[in-house]
């Protein structure tokens, strides 16, 4: 029983972690809490669903691959959906956040992002209605994975994909020029600019990466649960809790924070009931702010 909770918690925690990476990077580099970040997950899921449906219509139905519940069109559509969502994040920055940054007041960005979040969600509801949609209507059967535990093939596959994405992200942040530039900018934007770093390019890369990873999290959530216009908004509180728990600006922190939130949610459901699942992240958030506001891997900047 407890083992099964761990399996579910780890898979949902990996998705929260993926989404939280972008949130924490935007927070560190642009210095504002982006309430629209969850919408990138929803839009990513709907973009991918549209592309996958179009591919399936054009090239014949993609039968499920092996034990997975979805076929190759979803796999092909995922990278495209991630790119489109990265573009959406860039576009939102171009029309809304960048002009506001010029005015100076960082905190106004937060209310702008809150408005953008409701508008983006309502736009999805306008286009697709609030009827849930599915990547496939196949039933995912839980397979034994040893030690008496069961996991669906989808869960195992998505966990693998999430680990690959996280590994790539970690390599980018630690081994590449871009990653170093991003870390430098989040430490001190003025100094980074003086050192010859193209801060505007770093900002663009941050939105692209953040949007794309959120889209991946949205697609994974869409495969294991369902696709709804609210899915990203419901994810927002766990994402914030994971980013703050891990320490703002820390990619490994966001992943670990996501895992902890996912596990805590899974553990709390048998105790308080599934209907209070969303409040678990709030309780953890309050505890972190009380005990260690800078988070696990954060640097004190107060």
């Amino acid at each position: 029983m407890i083992g099964q909770i761990l399996v579910d918690g780890v898979t949902s925690g990996a998705m929260i972690g993926l989404g939280a990476i972008g949130l924490t990077l935007v927070y560190a580099i642009l210095r504002f809490a982006n309430f629209a970040h969850g919408e990138f997950a929803s839009w990513g899921a709907y973009f991918t669903l549209l592309i996958a449906t179009a591919l399936a219509a054009a090239f014949g139905t993609g039968a499920p691959i092996g034990p997975l519940s979805f076929g190759w069109p979803v796999l092909m559509a995922l990278p495209l959906g991630m790119v489109l969502t990265g573009g959406l994040a860039l576009a939102l920055d171009r029309v809304l956040f960048r002009p506001l940054r010029r005015h100076g007041a960082e905190i106004v960005l937060v209310i702008a992002s809150f408005g953008a979040s409701l508008s983006l969600r309502a736009a999805l509801e306008f286009i697709f209605t609030d009827r849930p949609q599915y990547f496939s209507h196949g039933i995912a059967i839980a397979l034994p994975i040893g030690l008496g535990l069961r996991a669906t093939a989808d869960q195992i596959g998505l966990l693998g994909a999430a680990i690959v994405l996280m590994g790539v992200m970690h390599a980018v942040m630690t081994r590449t020029r871009l990653g170093r530039a991003m870390r430098a900018t989040s430490e001190n934007p003025d100094l980074a600019r003086l050192a010859g770093i193209d801060v505007a390019a770093v900002v663009r890369a941050t939105w692209l990466i953040g949007g794309a990873l959120a889209a991946a999290a949205g697609v994974f959530l869409g495969i294991t649960v369902q696709i709804r216009p609210d899915m990203g908004f419901d994810l927002l509180l766990p994402l914030f809790a994971a980013a703050i728990l891990g320490g703002i600006g820390s990619v490994p922190g966001a992943l670990l924070g996501g895992l902890i939130i996912g596990l805590a949610e899974a553990l709390a459901v048998p105790l308080v009931g599934a209907q209070y699942r969303a409040a678990v992240s709030f309780v953890i958030l309050l505890a972190v702010l009380l005990v260690r506001p800078r988070g696990l891997f954060g640097v004190g900047r107060e």
Binding site: L96, L100, A112, G115, R121, L236, I244, Q275, S281, P293
Partner: protein
Amino acid sequence: MIGLLGYAAFFLTIALSYAVMCLGLNLQWGFAGLFNVGVAGFVGVGAYAAALITAAPVAGRVGGFGLPIVAGWAGAMVASGLVAAVVGAITLRLRADYLAITTFGAATSLQLVALNAQGLTGGPFGIAFIPRPFGALAPHPLAFGLANLALVAVVTAGAYWLIARLTHGPWGRVLRALREDETAAVALGKPAARYRLQAFVIGCALMGLAGAMQAQFFGFIAPDNYLPTLTFQVWVMLILGGAGNHRGAVAGAVMVWALWAFSGSLFAVLLPPGLEARGAALRIVAIGVVLAVVLLLRPRGLIGERATVSRHLRA
């Protein structure tokens, strides 16, 4: 004519209850620079508190004390203020946007409680038969509407007076000083955390009062009334009217509520049946675009904060 007058009274009653929320938010954001993204949660706490205090007892639910409406409104302010004190005590000492995230989380969690704690809140069906002020006049809709409008107008004027008194005095000056330059204000010996917490609690108490007035005017509440869309509406009202200016807050509330009500009727007429849900979604997109345009083109709102210039600098 009578019908039109009745509708005008109804419309203004609701608009003024929003104005009270907007005044509370103006104290928090316009003067203290505090970022509350949980307006709906504090309004909801007030509404439920007032309902539990004034409604008649119901089997299987806590509360229903059948007390007078005044007790309900006072209780609503205390309940919202207490929740605000807890949330504020934890977050106000941290960076500004942590308050935004925490209030958002508080509103989400409070909504879950409203939806699921059946024994306290009536669950998804909410609480009905909340006593309405001037209930004896209900057979005469116009008199009933006008009496309620007068009551809400008196409360709004009282809230306006209170907030104006507070912000024009030394207390308000300290708040603005903290907002503009915290280091300087703290160096002058002003306890930043205490002032912020006071402003936050008073603002949230006003939101609770507004929630109580709405609950009692409609006589019925449900968890769906307190979704993030409500928070967003109040913010748009304040930003459009002009943060930092009380007249702006009231004017913004009336204008945005007029736009909201008008666009709702317009969509109801224009859109074919079956598309109402889509119309509601489109309305939120539109009001979000309005917010973005105001923030970009007229960040000070229609009536912004008056510039305060030292008399030594004035020519």
